[in-house]
């Protein structure tokens, strides 16, 4: 199961969803990406949501290190392999999680 948790205050989730679907297509899969909007601090706490977007494959965060950040309605920070900051996971990170 592929889950994408997002907060509408951050613009990154459409790009993340699109990248996931692109990778799924390349892998010949048609899994649904289940979208869940997080709308309050309480929900963020309950869902252990460290920021938008948070992507879990069968319950496992695609970025386990970042998953431990404080739950909050915020844009999530990801680090690309070359050290640059990105608002979405890298393609490599998503591919590895989806394989």
């Amino acid at each position: 199961m592929i889950e994408l948790f997002f907060w509408e205050g951050c613009p990154s989730h459409p790009e993340a969803k699109s990248l996931i679907e692109q990778i799924l297509g390349e892998l010949g899969r048609d899994d649904e990406v289940v979208m869940t909007e997080v709308t309050s601090d309480e929900e963020a706490e309950r869902l252990r949501f460290p920021g938008s977007p948070t992507i879990r494959i069968d319950g496992r965060d695609v970025d386990p290190v970042g998953a431990n950040a404080r739950p909050a309605l915020t844009c999530r920070i990801y680090y690309l392999p070359d050290g640059r900051v990105s608002p979405i996971p890298s393609r490599d990170q998503l591919e590895a999680a989806l394989r």
Partner: protein
Amino acid sequence: MSIELGTEAPFFELPGVDGYDHSLDEYRDATLLALVQSCNHCPYVLAWEDRLMAVAHDYAHQGVRVVALNSNDVSRYPEDSFERMKERAGQRAFPFDYLFDEDQAIAHALGAEHTPEVFLFDEERKLRYHGAIDDSRDDNAVTRSYLREAIEALLAGDQPPVTETDPVGCTVKWK
């Protein structure tokens, strides 16, 4: 709703991470003044940070001043506190002033909505470019460097080729 092109820069006097207060008047000698709505916690700000630093560095000798403003509600986003601003600026050695707009007055006056969001004022402090730093958060994918193009044009006495773009990034965190 952000201010319209041609609008005068709003007055401000705000504390900076260098320990001094900075006002609009202090930048009176600048040929151009770029006010950039910013913060610490936003990945879009961080993704663009090196490019903003490069702009500040590259045009400083031509009298262009870049000033970053953080107006976010620190009670909900503690990474954006004044202390954390000082830490960030020190770690990165920002070549620009980084000011704390705690009461959000300047963000309101500019009509800022995002971080990062650029307001570039000319020598008479009229708004001449508003929007994104360039056209991609991914520095490998940039095809248009809006802020640089606007600076180059204004320094040459011309109109910026693009005067308004949609800033992409986090929202300003209002109280």
